[in-house]
Symmetry: C2
Subunit: 534 residues, 2 copies
């Protein structure tokens, strides 16, 4: 995957300013099939700065051109894009399977691709409706405001969801477009062909629906330095980034310095607290549920349950043993790439160095291609509290760490030592016996996670208007926003535009006295209403 | 105002962890009466880090203690606080007049103090209602979310609004408290006595309404280094800062590095575009309106019109001359402090060095105490475009810069070169003759300002639910938020809390099936509703 000098006629083209162009860059890279560890045949360019800048300037022009385009047009684009993806699903599935090693069924075909087109269709409905922009009218002062497109959005997609978080089709893309913004997609280097397919279909869908040709652009890779220049360019509106923490923080620093909103989804260990009554009621059921959730997708989910907090005792020992047995008998999956495997190895080493004991696994191999044995680790509450930072190292893969607290006070101390996470779950007895302990620990967990869950594993992230796929730093860069869930996720890619005493005919339709659409909700003098003003 | 060694028994106390304490610091400062240029008698401490840290830890405890406190209690606190301020208004007015030189009437007594207590009462109503938190319920998935208190908020107040933006009573304070957060107020060094009076009343109001004694705390001054440690402390939830750009950016960097939301209101030149038809219709009227707006409060408003963009021609020359005559005959006000005067002098020098010509004023003196002559500057569009950055230097005071474009294309180029601003106004003819030009320039201005205004000066900032007192960087740090306007300003001090499959009795009342208050609006399955679920 490291860039090489290009030969070459065969290098894939970048999509810039409405054209699939031969890149002016001289470096190339290839993706690798993680199941065979062999490079895939297509070569992809590393774009030099001049090319990145062309994309930025073209996006800025596209942003101006679509300024008065109604939400209906973005909706049609998103729907047409979804239809085109569906029509080419066979190729999408084969390509992503080759590039990621994720199984065709159920993962790619039954779960992730339908989720992705569903997400595009939900975004379309929200763009058409317009209520996402929270139109607010104060008749007494004749001041009106709404959220509106922020300008070109750069999306950096992660390695682990080739569809649902793809930079050219996933959640950030859908949210940015539905809010009216052109997107510059920066594909993840591990699945460039999948990303190229999306960009091809998005490009055609934009053409069919009359959006400017530069509305969607694609570059595959840049230098780190050019990545920082990209996110801090004056013409950029905002950035969505899902991926590794170190890279994300470098981009964040560059964007923050010039006041560009950057939304990060970085890392999370998703603690699960198992209260004692549950182990009395349904220990075996929970062991199965946990093992399935933790090993699904070879554990390569940002919501993977990476830490389980339990109270010491014989029932906890039985539970831990039951999970260990399941981890030992479960198949060992293929990891997304050599890089993921190497990071996983060093994270497990860091946890062990900090005092965690390996219960099972802990070694590379055992499966096809890039693989690592299903791994369980254990540490006491005392040890955790001695090295809370190191013992919260995210091990991105098929592993989890049991933290065994000696009593409730120590359980609470462990929770108080947690960093920000996307999710936190509490399993408690159905008969109410854990309710007192629940109410003691819930406040500590609540403020450290974006989504608090009862009696359910965190791995599923429903595309719901009430979802929060976000949370306090370092899980994300701002605890007020979510990356999943329409329409809330759209509000990240918007600026607040206020109109003070602006003449009626100059107002955007959503802020004029007459409600432009029968179903549109607006806040008029502090009350939500679907009526006209006055 | 520079810190000196303390003597001393007489130094004022800091409010930390529910007690008015003798500061452990050895440095002191005094405020200065800007009208007499003489130090005021009271001495105030510079708090050392240990003291700041005590405040942070006490605020964290207070934050945990108020977690389940209903909005009604914060409402009662805010209302009781407003009543107590009203009851002591004579002392507030005399003190702020001494510390700021702002006139008692109309400014302090008729305008700013009533605005401040009104703002506290609006925040109380929003806290009581609870709709600010956007409760969102998805019945299909049983996922529910709302915004909730983010944790202790540090508020840095500016020099120019001793009441309405005061760190212990102003807009950020009201918004943070109404959202359920304890506040650590960092008073502005130019009006510590005014801030102390607010903290005294807030402390008593908290006691009367049963909030924890550390709910409101006050420190007067810290070292710059300790300011950075304060905003980046793990126990802090968020920061509100209004003030000078350089200091704000240093704090922003410290907060950003650890993912703490920091909301800045930094600087703005508030461009006003005057289209040709207006000068035909009402040139004299506009000259009077502009001069009044620009010289009010000696121009020391963040929404002061610091730049006027016009098309070259004889009518523009007459208009400029009319404004010049008004500036020359208007009284010269007193500036807030020696520091403000020195910054103003150097900003005017920077504008002149960049090519601006002084039409009138341009020199220190002419009024009581710290003063500078009412100043008008002029520059051509050509020159502006040669040094757009330097010619956007904010001159915080009684001045404005006319930018004379040779034609419409140059006017548009000037607008395209603007940085982010809080406001932008367009004056156009009532008879429609300017409408074509309006529609050409509006898009460029729209994306560069938070509030777009027609035919009105920007200086008034109504406390309206639709207000945006915010805008793109460098006017603020994030274009999606407003510092003024309840309830939107409260959403800055909140985290998104999602509940996934959480049992009914464990949900906050706003997210339970039964609507806890008849008037509360909630989004249920995508529709705003005041009903119960189901």
């Amino acid at each position: 995957m490291n860039p090489q000098k290009s030969s070459l006629m065969s290098v894939e083209r970048v999509l810039i300013d409405g054209k699939w162009r031969v890149s002016s860059g001289s470096q190339i890279f290839q993706s690798v099939n993680p199941a065979t560890r062999l490079p895939l045949p297509r070569e992809y360019p590393v774009s030099p700065w001049a090319e990145v800048e062309q994309a930025i300037l073209a996006a800025a022009r596209a942003s101006r051109a679509v300024r008065d385009v109604p939400g209906e047009v973005f909706a049609k684009f998103l729907e047409r894009f979804a239809e085109r993806i569906d029509a080419r699903s066979g190729e999408f599935i084969a390509t992503a399977n080759q590039e990621t090693g994720l199984p065709v069924e159920p993962r790619l075909k039954i779960a992730e691709l339908p989720r992705t087109t569903n997400q595009l269709r939900q975004a379309a409905a929200a763009a058409r409706d317009g209520g996402w922009s929270l139109p607010t009218i104060d008749t007494k002062t004749n001041i009106r405001s709404r959220l509106a497109a922020i300008g070109p959005v750069v999306v950096f997609g992660p390695n682990n969801f080739p569809y649902a978080f793809n930079s050219a089709a996933g959640g950030d893309f859908a949210a940015a477009v539905a809010a009216g913004n052109p997107v510059i997609a920066k594909g993840h280097s591990s699945h460039p062909s999948t990303t190229r397919l999306f960009a091809e279909e998005a490009f055609e869908a934009a053409r069919e629906t009359g959006l400017p040709p530069a509305f969607v652009q694609l570059i595959y890779r840049t230098s780190h330095e050019d990545g920082c220049r990209l996110v801090s360019h004056p013409a950029i509106g905002a950035i969505g980034y899902t991926g590794a923490r170190a890279t994300g923080l470098v981009l964040k620093e560059a964007a923050d310095r010039v006041g560009k909103p950057i939304y990060l989804e970085l890392s999370s260990i998703n603690p699960i607290c198992v209260l004692p009554g549950v182990l009395e009621e349904r220990s075996d059921e929970l062991a199965a549920e946990f093992s399935t959730s933790c090993l699904m997708g070879t554990g390569q989910f940002c919501t993977n349950p990476g830490m389980v907090l339990l109270l010491a005792g014989p029932q906890t020992e039985s539970f831990v043993n039951a999970v260990r047995a399941k981890f030992e008998s479960a198949p060992i999956g293929t990891m997304l790439s050599e890089g993921v495997l190497r990071n996983f190895e060093s994270s497990i080493q860091a946890l062990v160095a900090a005092g965690a004991e390996v219960l099972t696994g802990g070694q590379t191999g055992g499966g096809n291609g890039f693989s690592f044995r299903n791994t369980l680790l254990k540490v006491t509450g005392e040890k955790f509290l001695l090295s809370p930072h190191a013992l919260q190292t995210e091990a991105f893969g098929n592993s989890s760490l049991f933290v065994i607290a000696k009593d409730e006070a120590q359980m609470l101390a462990v929770l108080d030592a947690l960093e920000g996470n996307l999710t936190g779950a509490i399993y408690s007895a159905k008969d109410g016996q854990d309710d007192t302990l629940y109410s003691r620990i819930e406040p500590a967990l609540r403020v450290r996670v974006g989504r608090l869950i009862n009696d359910k594993m965190p791995t599923g992230v429903a595309v719901s208007p009430a979802m929060n796929h976000g949370g306090p730093f370092p899980a994300t860069g701002h605890p007020g926003f979510t990356a999943v869930g329409i329409p809330a996720s759209m509000r990240r890619f918007a600026m607040l535009q206020c109109y003070d005493s602006v003449r009626q005919h100059r107002l955007p339709p959503e802020l004029q006295d007459k409600n432009p659409r029968p179903g549109l909700w607006r806040s008029i003098d502090g009350q939500w209403s679907q009526a006209d003003v006055g």
